[in-house]
Symmetry: C2
Subunit: 189 residues, 2 copies
């Protein structure tokens, strides 16, 4: 039972996820989501009581997705160094969206912070997932915990910076170049 409701619910979350990314959370209205999903605004409230509830579901969905592909990388990519390169490649393969809408994680964190939204800390945990995974990889490469943490933070710094500047200048070539620099840095440490 509840399969149809679950389906609609999922559709709402997926649509909201997309719209929050492209238009921002605050700028996306219930009507936007409802019409994109193809249901009435009234029906909407059967599935979610408030806009913040949808946001929580979207963040949760993204977290699950992040955990999934990080696990998949752990299982399918043999070495830590290759996995770190895969992290950088992810940015490159996402370049078309980045130049248009920035980083889906960085931009939402920045927005929720300014809105003083209750789910801000929840959102930053998306970054924490990446940070902890990156630290793990550097530890596997033989670095001490402190150094691994600093390296991980540097990786986050560069990928977020790439997203902001790549978007501001709408420049995929820049993204590829800067990503390559980061890979070069990875080789040297």
């Amino acid at each position: 039972m509840n399969t149809k409701a679950e389906t609609i619910r999922n559709k709402i979350v997926t649509t909201a996820d997309d719209l929050f990314y492209r238009q921002g959370f605050n700028h996306t209205s219930f009507s936007d989501i409802a019409s994109a999903v193809g249901i009435s605004r009234g029906n909407f409230y059967y599935h979610f009581k408030t806009k913040d509830d949808i946001l929580a579901a979207v963040i949760e969905k993204r977290k699950v997705g992040i955990k999934q592909f990080l696990n998949e990388w752990d299982e399918t990519i043999p070495s830590a160094k290759q996995r770190l390169n895969q992290y950088v490649d992810m940015v490159v393969s996402y370049q078309d969206n980045i130049v248009k809408y920035g980083c889906p994680i960085g931009t939402v964190c920045s927005e929720l912070n300014k809105l003083k939204n209750i789910h801000y800390n929840n959102a930053t945990e998306m970054i924490t997932l990446f940070r902890d995974w990156l630290i793990e990889q550097f530890v596997l490469l033989g670095h001490g915990k402190e150094k691994a943490k600093h390296y991980a933070m540097h990786m986050l710094t560069c990928t977020q910076g790439i997203s902001v500047i790549g978007q501001a200048f709408t420049d995929p070539a820049y993204i590829r170049r800067e990503a390559q620099s980061l890979k070069d840095w990875l080789e040297k440490i």
Copy 2:
């Protein structure tokens, strides 16, 4: 004549500048600005016709400010290398605001992009001012135009990344550490 109106106008722009930074553009209402300035909403429209007009004035003010202190650096700091270090130091000295609200330029560009605001390109020109100045410094250091441009873009990447991650983790120590890394990088190239 018009001095009083000019004063009020400036006060509005200064206040809006601050509120747009701390709360975001979309999330800041006319009432917010009016009450912060200490005038009625009605009076407001004597000075600015639309919210976008205030935004344009805020961006213009910021641009003027950026040009001013870049010029000042050019005139008071003897070497290009020292000026590049000053650019990094600026981020460090701004750390308290960054951990709370992010980069005043990066966050507004990101937001205006998602809002499809007409002044988005105008806002990105704030970054262009820094980019062109940075390129100049690297050229003065003896690098070719292409290389200077890539170095400049890398500086932008790091400072923007520092802002996003510094804000997300509310971590001034991280900002100082990563800024030092960037200075180390400057020494090596």
